[in-house]
């Protein structure tokens, strides 16, 4: 399923009936304002909060943060492409191995894009 929201934290929190303050407590945050900032996409969740959220709601990280996953995937793909272009024509012995590796990375990213239902590259 392609999900529309960048983050499903707010819908899941509200369905569970938890307040921002209560959810902040579960995440180990001091104030509900931190949750508000994450929900309003003002601040990306760090790994600890993301993992805690996944555990609290019993869902997969891709389903909880679909937009974030797509953004990260797209950013990595762009950088991998740039690096691939940059390495082209480099006579070093290691270059061939690096290019092969980057081709693998790009193929995996494309698979992830299809699996996560992210929009195609612009």
């Amino acid at each position: 399923m392609v999900q529309r929201l960048k983050m499903y934290l707010r819908p899941l929190r509200r369905r569970s009936g938890l307040t921002q303050r209560e959810f902040a407590f579960l995440l180990g945050l001091k104030h509900g304002a931190g949750v508000s900032r994450i929900e309003r996409l003002k601040r990306p969740p760090n790994l600890v909060w993301a993992r805690a959220s996944v555990l609290v709601f019993g869902t997969r990280a891709q389903e909880l943060f679909p937009g974030l996953f797509c953004e990260v995937r797209e950013a990595v793909r762009r950088r991998a492409n740039d690096l691939y272009e940059e390495l082209q024509g480099n006579p070093s012995k290691a270059t061939r191995a690096k290019l092969d590796f980057l081709e693998g990375v790009l193929a995996r990213l494309e698979e992830a894009r299809v699996e996560e239902g992210c929009p195609g590259a612009v």
Binding site: M1, V2, Q3, R4, L5, R10, P11, R14, R15, G17, G117
Partner: protein
């Protein structure tokens, strides 16, 4: 091979004297966001409209569901009728399809559940959507005014009527 399935975002807005309530669904029985927005004091029309614009900007829904306040639909006070028409116009500008349902149409959609009152309707919706259970207001006494939370169920009922009706709902031409 089937491609990834994409659910439409259906936004239902129900206007009342205190402001409005909205429910956003991502597929039937899957509410994404909901709220009662109280707008009191002067410039109620403009402030309501501004808040609805904010919601449309935030979620970019695929479909907007409103109450049918046309002469053939449900009779509401002029302010609400005008505001409903303005919201429909706003949606038209954004190329957003608008579906409207009258109170009778909503009752018809829930008729087989035996819901004849708004209270019964709210209880049926809450039974199907557990997230709304805690918003069901206690039955009101004859001397009490309607609980603001009832707006959530009015909006949800519109959206659920839309889902039940498929895409056969009345088109936006009937608004206002």
């Amino acid at each position: 091979m089937n491609g990834p399935r994409r659910y439409a975002f259906v936004l239902a807005v129900y206007l009342n004297t205190r402001g409005f309530a909205f429910v956003l669904f991502e597929g039937p029985l899957a509410p994404v966001d909901w709220s009662v927005r109280e707008v009191r004091g002067p410039k109620k029309y403009a402030r309501c409209l501004a808040r609805i614009v904010g919601i449309l900007d935030q979620y970019s829904p695929d479909v907007l569901v409103l109450q049918d306040t046309s002469p053939r639909g449900t009779r509401r006070v002029p302010r609400i009728t005008e505001l409903n028409a303005a919201i429909a116009e706003l949606a038209e500008v954004r190329g957003l399809p608008v579906h409207t349902f009258s109170r009778d149409k909503v009752r018809e959609a829930f008729w087989h559940y035996g819901a004849t009152t708004k209270q019964a309707l709210a209880e049926i919706i809450a039974k199907h959507i557990p997230a709304f259970e805690r918003y069901v207001p206690p039955p009101r006494k004859p001397w009490q005014s309607e609980d603001a939370r009832m707006g959530i169920f009015d909006a949800a009922a519109l959206a659920l009527t839309f889902f039940q009706d498929g895409l056969d709902g009345q088109s936006k031409g009937a608004v206002g």
